[in-house]
Amino acid sequence: MTESSPARRRGNGVFVLACLLPALVLFAVFMIVPTLNVFRMSLYTWSGFSPDMRFVGLGNFARLLDDAQFVRAFQNTVALLVVVTVVTMGTGLFLAAIMTRQRLRGRTVYRFVLYVPSVLSVVVIAAIFSAIFDQKNGLLNGTLRLLSLDGLQQIWLGDQQLVLWSVAIAMVWQSLGYYMVLYMSGMASIPEEIYEASALDGASAGRQFFAITLPLIWQNLRTTLTFFVMSAVNLSFVLVRAMTGGGPDGSSEVLLSYMYKQAYTNSSYGYGMAIGVAVFAFSFFVSLLVSRATRREPLQF
């Protein structure tokens, strides 16, 4: 093997840099600059069109604290994130463990059925759930009627106490299959011998799940958890826009839908960007929190 000269190594470096340059330029122009712009514009009052931009410093952020609708949107977002994350991740893990460890008949069919929602457009999902939640002819109220549980029928998208949870159900349905398949692939790579050895020691399926499966896919779980929390912020926006428009009377408003309304329909672009910065900071904080809370010594097999 020949040893490369410093000049040759430098030449390779330049070549690598030159290859990366287009991507770096694009990344800077389309990601870094716009992000910095959001931070900059959050310090102004501006409609988005006019050349008239007035610097207000942190004034937009001070207004946010007094804005009851923003606080409500924030609470809704946090509630959705907590509930949808816990239910999706918990159910996803549970189903993945069953699909991987149990000899279920028709396993492929179940996997297919659960995965299908992940490839559907969110707007299609909104349409499906509008039909399911329809107060008169919907599947949900229809089933309750069939079971003679008429008292449990609800106006799912018209009740201010229920509408957010109706959106949450749609979010779980959309995401569950995707994460289940991710966990199944992680679980499938765990050597069978470990389970066999633990079975000989008398470990039950539940014990195996908590003592073997969960620790060995922990890194997988951490990554998907952070990824899911971030994507749930976006998903909640699209579903709310398509299903409820934030209503009735703002009861299902989430952070991004409120940001959209302020920036694009209330001519308060700077204020909208301040909400954007709040979403950025919130997402960053949640990611950090998830990362810290789930930090463990990685186990390998």
Partner: protein
């Protein structure tokens, strides 16, 4: 040498990628003026614009008109406008969700079109102003700053009021209520037959109801006071009366109203009129086209009525929705744009528009209408009924404050019992005061 070649080629490829993303040019250079027109494809369809533009190009060979038309035209033109490339003429009214027209009004970014009113319609002897029906300009819709200047020209006009099934009323022998007491009495009578008195497609449609009610209750001056955020206007007895009547009316709302009052399901609320499940809903004349393929009760026939008068024999107002045409102040071809706008009011253009049921506010045009449209526009012939044009005055944007949402969307909470009338009034007072301070 080789290294610099690599660097140069990389830079060129980066630049190439960037320029590949840039917008296309304006296509100028042929010697012709290229007029860029953006229009909302509303219920009237898109063909009428293509035909009007063809007719215009035939009489103006030096002008090339490029049309961009879409059901969400705001999304199509906004990115370019943010980059400083404005269309020359835009046909888009107020009251749209994206509120592009309102935003440009707030920014004072529209061209003053008062000269168009004084200009002769191309190919005709009369001026645009002479051809327009009385009262259609000079209100807060066309003159949003309350000055003598007109910034948005009224393109089409249509009455908005309470729509109902004439056939059902005839079948039951019911009369359209002439007073609010009769309205509520009818509500009780209908309830016994499991028919609701009132619904709305989404709460936003309550503009057709509220604006007329405010004028009915307190007269035009009171209406203007509300629209211009006069201090304490929402604490007046008239405002309370309007909210009292509405709260009482909402008690008779169809139970399905709130659940369907969203973008996905609003037609289900409209359908309840066609199914004889509900008697009245606020709407505009476009609802006929929107529901043309929907199933309906036997003998169904669309009817339109103004709200009952608050005082017996008193004046009634009918909210008149006006779609607008305007020219951005930053447009490149403003003179050509103004001439084109003037042409839109020519007999030639009006005939093309009318064929698609797009009725322009030109004197005498309503007399040539037929069918349902003729019935709807007859409402203006009633001596006690007056057209009410315009809405809330434009102010500098106030972060977190949307008075239309406060006025209309709260109806959902009143029906469900999540808010009281007092909370509604307090929220309106608060929003109005903030907008007043912003320069209403």
């Amino acid at each position: 040498m080789r290294r610099s070649l690599v660097l140069v080629s990389a830079a060129i490829s980066a630049l190439g990628l960037l320029t590949g993303c840039s917008a296309d040019g304006d296509g100028s250079g042929s010697g012709k003026t290229t007029l860029s027109v953006a229009a909302l494809e509303g219920g009237y369809g898109r063909d009428m614009y293509a035909q009007v533009i063809e007719a215009y190009k035939a009489s103006h060979p030096g002008v090339d008109v490029q049309l961009k038309i879409s059901k969400s035209i705001e999304d199509e033109i906004t990115p370019n406008m943010k980059a400083g490339r404005f269309p020359d003429v835009v046909v888009l009214g107020q009251g749209r969700k994206a509120a592009l027209t309102e935003t440009l009004i707030k920014d004072k970014a529209l061209e003053d079109l008062t000269p168009v009113l004084k200009a002769k319609v191309p190919g005709e002897d009369r001026t645009v102003g002479d051809k327009l029906i009385d009262g259609i300009v000079g209100n807060l819709n066309t003159n949003p700053y309350g000055t003598g200047q007109t910034y948005t020209m009224p393109m089409y006009y249509a009455p908005s009021g309470l729509f109902y099934n004439k056939g059902l009323f005839a079948q039951k022998g019911w009369k359209v209520p002439a007073t609010w007491d009769e309205m509520f009495a009818l509500g009780e009578k209908a309830k016994q037959e499991k028919i609701s008195l009132f619904t709305y497609p989404t709460a936003g449609y309550l503009d057709a109801y509220f604006f007329a009610l405010l004028a009915d209750v307190g007269g035009e001056q009171f209406y203007t006071d509300v629209m211009t955020y006069k201090q304490g206007v929402w604490q007046t007895p008239q405002a309370r009366q309007a909210l009292d009547l509405t709260t009482r009316l909402l008690k008779y709302a169809a139970p399905t109203t709130v659940g369907y009052a969203n973008e996905q399901d609003f037609t289900k609320n409209q359908q309840s009129i066609l199914d004889n499940k509900t008697l009245f809903m606020p709407n505009g004349t476009w609802v006929v086209g929107e529901m043309k393929d929907a199933p309906r009760a036997a003998g169904f026939e669309w009817g339109l009525t103004p709200l009952p008068p608050v005082t017996v024999g008193g004046k009634r107002y009918i909210t008149t929705s006006v779609e607008s045409v305007w020219v951005p102040a930053a447009a490149k071809n403003k003179d050509a744009a103004k001439e084109f706008v003037a042409y839109l009011y020519s007999d030639e253009a009006a005939k093309i528009f009318a064929k698609s049921n797009a009725i322009q506010p030109i004197k005498g045009i309503a007399s040539g209408l037929s069918g349902e449209n003729a019935e709807f526009y007859k409402v203006y012939d009633e001596t006690t009924v007056e057209a009410l044009v315009g809405g809330f005055a434009s102010t500098a944007p106030v972060e977190g404050v949307d008075i239309k949402a406060t006025l209309f969307d709260t109806a959902n909470s009143i029906i469900s019992g999540d808010k009281t009338e007092d909370q509604w009034q307090a929220a309106l007072n608060d929003a109005s005061e903030k907008l007043r301070q912003a320069g209403g």
